[in-house]
Point group: C2
Chain length 329, copies 2
């Protein structure tokens, strides 16, 4: 199996350089430090790499995509910082969250600053190489995904303690919260690379599909993997009472008694009933169902790449699609 | 005296329509309601009107500036919502703040959504009427001011309990926090209207100067006006221990004893010593000094408008500059 982490490393140095260039001028220093913290804590740079790879895959120069690539990582980081405040998550990438270290006001502000810097970066794209109208189109794509991220987070917050979420609603939430930004990465890359309208659409859809698969696979791995594999206790979504595709599917299919049982397990927050919840998922084929959706999404995503000429970046995009189904992503 | 509120009303209906168009599609409804709240609570629409007026003043069509005008109001609103969370302000425009009504997570998200919608609005500018490169230039101006707003708020937070702030630092803070957005409004209007580089610079500087004057005058009015005039108890900045240009000036000029006395008054939070603080401001000519800076800024701002041909919108910009020195703005 090709090591996708190696693929992602190919451009990560140039991407990091752009990100650093963008944040270095933030003044006062306290705001700069808070803004840099999470970025410096690492991350695999999936989203920015997708911008560069899709730009290249349609025949564009990778350097024309670097500013927008940096912007995608900045937007991802901004949303993590604000989400951690909202969800009261105190750890991120193995480090204390920004609001834990600098307090909520500074964390809100760091997110806002990084968000602004993302647009600033895109606007730095050299107009001599990429036409103004293409930059505007890429920007539109990115801005649209930002609105969706906010809407997705609001939907997710609305799902708390709500157990009648329909599958369609759930899929719409993960589309907005996770897949839309990945689709914006692949779409903006294709736009900046000068892809044909068909290529832009195909790569946009490729991004959406692997983004969906990524989140759905995350749901799936929680119940089928052991702790070592996924880096957190298996079944922890169940203990946390989290909405997942398996929960949604089981609740839609289950008898009134089973439905009630599952809801009471999810509400209990107890680790003792994880096996019982998994048994219910199995009874209604929800684990298989979830797995199949993820697999199908990846399959479709890869088929869409047929629109591209063969190239190293096309190969990379194929591997990334497969990698979404792996652990530790 | 010309009624500037009447001038601001001229475009406010069209601006409101653009803003509503922008927010109506936010989904889920809870997020939309939280996002609309502060906008619906009113506001004088100074910033958006400046975009339209400067566009017209350089010979542009006002309708080409309407989307960016809406964006400026959205950005102003986003910053108020987040500032209110950070500063724990529970009232805004006579209504409970967004975070008081919807909680902090939803208020953070409403701010983020409105912020995204602002860029979305600018990108909706009709490219047939305004060239892509002009839209990009206007966007750059706006994004740059957003970074400054964040930096200004961080500086302001850093000033708390710090009494050795230099005049230059203080002026830099109010530039970033308040004047930069007003300068972005006048600059982007001039760009979208197709103004010459000299006109763009002059109108940008006009915006900066009236923005500075607006904030400095606010400091001044706090000590020279009565409660009825300014809508809050006179001297309330002193009671709150707020950094103002008068405080900065007095602390820079005062004898060690007077400096210590003023700092202890500001730290006390007591209403009994307001008169004593004002006496110290007077002793070091800080009130006169502050007033003169505001007056000079407005004078310079108006002179810069000489670059424009005579028109109704030029007249309006002249009146707005004067109005900045009035109460209740």
């Amino acid at each position: 199996m090709v090591d996708v982490l190696e693929i992602l490393k190919k451009y990560s140095e140039s991407i990091d350089r752009e990100i650093n260039k963008s944040l270095i001028s933030i003044d006062p220093k306290s705001l700069r430090k808070a803004s840099e913290h999470l970025i410096k804590a690492g991350g695999k740079k999936l989203r920015p790499s997708l911008v560069v790879l899709t730009c290249e895959a349609v025949g564009g120069k990778p350097e024309n995509a670097l500013k927008t690539a940096a912007a995608m990582e900045l937007i991802h980081t901004f949303s993590l910082i604000h989400d951690d405040i909202m969800d009261k998550d105190e750890l991120r990438r193995g480090e204390p969250s920004v609001h834990v270290l600098w307090g909520e006001p500074m964390a809100i502000l760091a997110g806002d600053t990084i968000f602004s810097k993302a647009f600033d970066a895109i606007l730095e794209t050299k107009i001599d190489d990429v036409s103004s109208s293409r930059v505007l189109e890429a920007l539109k794509t990115v801005v649209d995904s930002c609105i969706k991220i906010c809407e997705g987070q609001a939907c997710d917050m609305g799902f708390e303690e709500k157990f009648d979420v329909k599958e369609k609603e759930y899929l719409n939430m993960i589309y907005k919260k996770t897949a839309a930004l990945i689709a914006a990465a692949t779409r903006s890359g294709a736009i900046l690379g000068g892809g044909s309208p068909e290529q832009v659409e195909a790569l946009s859809e490729y991004g959406r599909l692997i983004g969906m698969a990524f989140q759905i696979q995350d749901d799936y791995l929680d119940v089928i993997s052991d702790e070592e594999e996924i880096g957190k206790p298996a079944g922890s979504d169940i203990v946390e009472g989290k909405m997942t595709l398996m929960v949604v599917h089981t609740i839609e299919k289950a008898s009134p008694e089973d439905k009630e049982k599952l809801i009471s397990i999810l509400k209990s927050g107890s680790e003792d009933q994880v096996e019982e919840a998994i048994a219910l998922f199995k009874k209604y084929d929800s684990i298989e169902y979830t797995r199949n959706i993820a697999l199908n999404n990846v399959k479709q995503a890869k088929e869409l790449l047929n629109i591209l000429d063969d190239s190293e970046s096309k190969e990379a995009l194929l591997h990334i699609a497969d990698f979404v189904l792996q652990r530790n992503f």
